[in-house]
């Protein structure tokens, strides 16, 4: 739960009591295999689930069976804060890797966010950032070309992982297959493969298995039309300014 606590504290200052209240939430740790579903569309969830270790994706299927991936969940993310107040899950969440999750009963979670204003504020903040990321994904699949879409998603994952201390600025281990990348960017796997090769040939990234290294981070951001504002994380400039 420590990683979840850190994530909340980055969003709102918590008191000692708030911290204790989170650590004392009734919960059950579960280990899940890659491919396992934690919630399916149409389910009536009884728990709020926090991803402790591993990666997961949110997804929806169209009536024709096409899959669209909607978000990548990383350690420290709540997988379904929305189920606190919305009764029926409107999408599915599937594990990308072997994972550990903490399941907190819905009522216990509702109570803590309603009775502890600082925790409530942090949780609201977190759900609003998630919403902002979704807006950017609408833009990504709606109006960017294939090259920019892939570059954009790589930039986003890099910044999010780095902000949570899960990657360095140089690169990261991409927890997705090319097929999954395709479903996140509304492309075909062949197209994704071609774009990754192009980005590599242009000297923007290098790849070794799932590892992505940023050889030219600035140029990659430019190709991606990437502006980290929508992630609402403190930017490097602000960190530098605060340190001075």
């Amino acid at each position: 739960m420590q990683i979840f606590l850190q994530e909340l504290e980055a969003l709102a200052p918590l008191s000692v009591d708030d911290r204790l209240a989170i650590l004392q939430l009734p919960m059950r740790l579960r280990r899940l295999d890659a491919g396992a579903y934690i919630v399916r569309e149409g389910d009536v969830p009884k728990h709020c689930v926090i991803l402790i270790d591993g990666f997961a994706i949110r997804q929806k299927l169209t009536g024709q069976g096409a899959r669209q991936i909607l978000a990548l969940c990383i350690p420290g993310d709540a997988i379904d804060f929305q189920n606190m107040f919305l009764d029926i899950s409107d999408h599915a969440v599937q594990m990308l890797t072997r994972s550990i999750v903490a399941e907190v009963p819905r009522e216990a979670f509702q109570e803590i966010v309603m009775t502890r204003p600082a925790i409530g504020a942090a949780v609201i903040h977190s759900t609003l950032i998630e919403s902002s990321i979704l807006r950017e994904w609408v833009v990504n699949v709606g109006r960017r070309n294939a090259r920019a879409r892939i570059a954009h998603i790589l930039c986003e994952f890099a910044v999010r992982l780095e902000a949570r201390g899960l990657a360095s600025g140089e690169g990261f281990e991409l927890p997705m297959t090319q097929e999954q990348l395709a479903d996140a960017t509304s492309l075909t796997p062949i197209h994704v493969n071609r774009v990754l090769k192009t980005l590599q040939a242009e000297g923007l990234i290098s790849r070794q298995r799932r590892r992505i290294e940023f050889d030219d981070w600035r140029a990659l951001q430019e190709v991606a039309d990437f502006n980290r504002r929508y992630l609402h994380v403190t930017s490097e400039d602000e960190v530098v300014a605060a340190a001075l």
């Binding site: 609003l128 902002s132 979704l134 699949v141 960017r144 609402h232």
Partner: protein, 241 residues
């Protein structure tokens, strides 16, 4: 029930989510606000702005959009009366997208501090606001699917179905007719299509007898048919909460 106060429609919409006490209702009605009017396509909020207020639509339509560096535009949602267009700015502070009026639009601008104070003092209202933003997220998820994985016919039909349901919910249904001020260009920017493609798709939906759309009035002739073409399931609008 006739509205005596301009904020009553908001009270009514939010009170569908949670039961409000008289005190809750009055606290919403007592929100201090400034009435602002906007002509067509005026900016209500600009990306990057430090947002000092949240805007509730009293009359007219608005939309959220983002501009790409090459000048392309993606519309990310449409908004109708009784809805806030930027409740998230109360918390996030900096606007991460633009909001524009779609037609002649009347807004109640509420200061960020008044929104935060209301949320702090009235837990039931806080929960209703929260549910609002969670439903917004659910709609954004569906839009990612719509522009990402549906064909052009389904995209347009899906968007029309969504707007019809939302307009019905606020009682804007005039015996099957809806005010529909969206231009084909805006429909195109909301579905990731070109204006030409959108025009062709609308014509085909018309020819198949699913709808009529002229002079800013939408009439759905075959709801089940439109739903089917749009692959539309209203679960994501969470009306049952």
């Amino acid at each position: 029930m006739s509205d005596v106060h301009p904020l009553d429609p908001l009270v009514r919409r939010w009170s569908k989510y949670r039961s409000f006490s008289t005190g809750d209702r009055n606290a919403i009605r007592e929100l201090p606000y400034v009435r602002r009017t906007f002509g067509k396509d005026a900016y209500i909020v600009r990306e990057g702005e430090q947002a000092g207020e949240c805007s509730l639509i009293l009359r007219g339509f608005a939309y959220r959009q983002k501009l790409l560096s090459d000048g392309d535009r993606q519309i990310i949602s449409f908004h109708i009366p009784t809805e806030f267009v930027d409740l998230q700015n109360g918390v996030l502070g900096i606007a991460d997208h633009n909001v524009q009026s779609l037609n002649h639009c009347e807004i109640a601008a509420v200061s960020r501090s008044a929104i935060i104070e209301l949320a702090d003092q009235r837990p039931a209202v806080r929960m209703a606001m929260w549910i609002d933003t969670l439903i917004d997220s659910s709609i954004f998820r569906e839009w990612v699917v719509n522009v990402g994985r549906r064909d052009s016919r389904a995209r347009i039909a899906h968007l029309l179905c969504e707007l019809v349901i939302r307009l019905q919910r606020i009682g804007a249904d005039r015996e099957g007719l809806f005010d529909f001020p969206l231009t084909q260009e805006q429909l195109a920017d909301a579905t990731g299509l070109t204006a030409v493609h959108t025009n062709r798709t609308l014509q085909s939906l018309r020819r198949e007898g699913l709808l009529q759309l002229s002079n800013g009035i939408l009439r759905v002739l075959d709801w089940e048919g439109l739903r089917e073409v749009g692959d539309f399931d209203e679960l994501y609008l969470h009306q049952q909460v």
